[in-house]
């Protein structure tokens, strides 16, 4: 298994894992006043902060998934600590649940997938593995490489924002494609940074305070379309 087809599957928005319920922070940002011309800036900001952290966590989970025995708990704990806002941890766990359902269907017996049952740290919320951990475990089972995995996680975040923008800040859909392609230098830098991380302790920990604040406000918005 070369993992190349699996890579395409993992970054396809049609993968049935519930990702369409998520706006990657765009809906809370729009509620706080973010305008359409600021979307490219939001994309770059996410690449430098929350997205690179998630991509690096996924790479660590992939590596953990190829060891014997598999232990996802240190990466789960490190990523949870770097996701200080409870609604974002819960959203990540909810999204991870969809990927986990898929992983059980595709590769339930793979040690990386089986070990997800013990990824969550007992007594702490969320009680489920965060999405990057699950994605990394599935990547291990499907033979996806580190760079491809990191790029998939980063690309998915960009595509999630721009496709939500089509609903929240409608405009020319072709603009959204151009926004993503314009992020390539920052995205590739984040791929390299993700692969350079060698342990859970050295997972990037950059604060994105507005993202956190907006996410805290979002559950109180009674007219919301998206999970977060």
């Amino acid at each position: 298994m070369t993992g190349e087809l699996a890579t395409l599957l993992l970054c396809d928005g049609r993968l049935p894992v519930g990702a369409y319920t998520y706006s990657a922070g765009l809906e809370p940002a729009v509620a706080a006043g973010l305008t359409r011309d600021q979307v490219p800036g939001l994309l770059r900001a996410r690449l430098r902060t929350v997205s690179v952290t998630e991509a690096a966590a996924a790479v660590l989970a992939l590596r953990a998934g190829l060891r014997d025995p598999v232990d996802h708990a240190p990466v789960q704990a490190a990523l949870a600590a770097r996701t200080p806002t409870a609604p974002l941890r819960e959203a990540s766990a909810a999204l991870g649940r969809g990927v986990h359902r898929l992983a059980r269907r595709l590769a339930a017996d793979h040690p990386a997938v089986a070990a997800l049952e013990h990824a969550a740290v007992p007594g702490t919320a969320p009680a489920r593995p965060l999405r990057p951990i699950v994605t990394g475990a599935l990547a291990a089972a499907l033979g996806v490489g580190e760079a491809a995995l990191a790029r998939t996680v980063l690309y998915d975040d960009l595509q999630t924002v721009t496709s939500a923008a089509l609903k929240l800040l409608p405009g020319d859909p072709l603009d959204a494609v151009a926004w993503i392609l314009a992020c390539e230098p920052q995205l590739e830098a984040a791929v390299a940074e993700s692969r350079a991380v060698t342990s859970a302790d050295s997972l990037p920990a950059r604060s994105a305070p507005l993202t956190e604040q907006w996410a805290l406000e979002h559950p109180h918005n009674e007219r919301r379309l998206f999970l977060a």
């Binding site: 049935p16 319920t21 359902r101 919301r224």
Partner: protein, 259 residues
């Protein structure tokens, strides 16, 4: 229970009303599923404003005293329908979950059912064992139906106020749902619709599958709706209910020239 035109012929073998307490029957038709204790999942789909939430409220009002029930709503904005149902007071509020659908209600019930499966599983974990989980679709178009991986049976809901010709338009929900409801029949005189004609059109599109002319102000029709659900639950318990996809768009009926 009197014979009802809504019930399939095999339903009379078991008493629907004893479903709650009966143990699963071990003898059933060839090809049937094994008996199950998982909650019966029933989807309610149909266009916006036809009365899906009202059907849920009616079913809960009729049956929640005798069955353990819970509800999942899918709406454009998170919890519009959930709030309606909570305010109707027919179920404890923590038995009503709303899922975010990212403005894709049809996706959430058919193409990618993750969010709804999560909600159903959470309700069963928190309140189980449950007898019935009702899943309400967001209002959508005539092609929106539930995946058989999400629900065991589905109701498609039209209403007379949407126009008497809608039943003739066909589509997978009208043609293939387990039950087609023509709702708000009490409004027919005010909107100039002939209910008998509309129901006949609907029956014509559905082979032998049942059609119910429903008004929440008509107790007989409400009783028939409740009986349909009890019977469906009995068949689910007995392992004879096989979830069916209503299928693709109805084939068009004009003759094609032969090559």
């Amino acid at each position: 229970m009197p014979d009802s035109p809504l019930l399939p012929s095999d339903a009379h073998a078991s008493s629907a009303h004893s479903a709650h307490t009966s143990s699963p029957q071990s003898t059933h038709a060839h090809g049937a599923h094994p008996p199950t204790r998982r909650a019966l999942r029933v989807g309610v789909a149909g266009p916006v404003g036809t009365g899906k939430s009202s059907i849920l409220a009616t079913l809960c009002g009729q049956l929640a005293d005798s069955l353990a029930m819970a509800v999942v709503t899918n709406d454009i904005y998170t919890d519009e329908d959930a709030r309606f149902l909570r305010s109707a007071g027919v179920l404890p509020t923590d038995r009503i979950h709303a899922v975010e659908t990212g403005a894709c209600p049809h996706t959430a019930i058919r193409d990618d059912i993750s969010a709804n499966l999560d909600a159903v599983e959470d309700l069963e974990a928190a309140h189980g064992p449950l007898d019935v989980v009702l899943v309400e679709s967001g209002g959508d178009n005539l092609t929106a139906t539930f995946s058989p991986a999400l629900v065991d049976a589905q109701i498609f809901c039209l209403d007379v106020a949407g126009g008497g010709d809608v039943a003739r338009k066909g589509g997978p929900g009208i043609r293939g749902a387990d039950l087609l409801v023509v709702n708000k029949t009490d409004l027919a005189p005010y909107v100039g619709v002939d209910v008998t004609r509309m129901v006949a059109d609907a029956r014509g599109a559905r082979d032998e599958r049942p059609v119910l002319a429903l008004s929440k102000n008509d107790p007989d029709s409400v009783a028939e709706l409740a009986d349909w659900l009890r019977d469906t639950l009995a068949r689910h318990r007995a392992g004879t209910l096989v979830p069916r996809d209503p299928g693709p768009m109805a084939p068009h009926s004009h003759p094609h020239p032969r090559p």
